[in-house]
Symmetry: C2
Subunit: 147 residues, 2 copies
């Protein structure tokens, strides 16, 4: 049974290293993970209310207020009036915010390339297939254990 543990530990280690690498990249860009998450959503959704951001990122409205405050202060986004609902604001990327999101996108692709280039096709396919199995297994397990 314990033959699995080595692979599992490698997986955890990979997650840690990946996370450190990502944080390092974000720091270079003047971002934290949470703020980058907001930027990412805005990049994909376009101008968005804070309510929607809170829902998709799954944090409190209060927290979004703070994150948007920080992103405004550092020049990544602005708050624009909502055209039809005067209670709401539309959080909108500045030019700097857009450029930064593009840079994140490029780094994301670059990292994927660096990671998997040099892996032979057969092995790559096995790896991907294994990943899929693991994800399905784990999601089942999580769903079963969390409610």
């Amino acid at each position: 049974m314990s033959e699995y543990e080595g692979a599992f530990d490698r997986m955890l280690k990979l997650a840690v290293v990946l996370n450190e690498d990502m944080n390092h990249g974000l720091t270079q860009l003047g971002l934290t993970q949470s703020r980058a998450h907001v930027l990412w959503e805005l990049h994909h959704k376009g101008p968005t209310t804070q309510r929607v951001l809170a829902d998709v990122i799954r944090v409190s409205a209060r927290n979004i207020t703070g994150l948007v405050d920080a992103l405004v202060a550092t020049g990544f986004v602005t708050r624009q009036p909502h055209p039809t609902d005067r209670r709401a604001v539309l959080v909108t990327l500045t030019e700097h915010g857009t450029k930064t999101a593009d840079a994140m996108d490029r780094e994301h692709q670059e990292l994927a390339r660096v990671l998997f280039s040099g892996m032979p096709a057969v092995q790559f396919d096995c790896f991907v297939e294994g990943l899929d199995k693991v994800l399905v297994e784990l999601q089942d397990r999580v769903v079963a254990s969390i409610p």
Copy 2:
């Protein structure tokens, strides 16, 4: 080039799900990730000074003071006098702390089993080999980019 991206995104998603699952388990045990990390080191090293804990976990001495305060308050560890150095304290697992660390160990093994059982041997081997390659690649990349 972009055939890699799907696999990479799966990997990131797996890391996220894994992290959520782990946090859920830790909450059940009355721990946070940072406190669990301290517990884990104590479990493997035995009674340890705060200075050493700060070094292995790579956080400030101030932070260790806070984490140990919290673990003392919640009954996982005690501070014992160091036998030869009166400046230092030995952070020591209580019985509850030891039992909790054992439980973490069991859950760790159980999760590995659940994840990989049902994966055919050939596929498992490919997966593990792929993981190794990826880890080596990524560590090279991180080492190259971080200094």
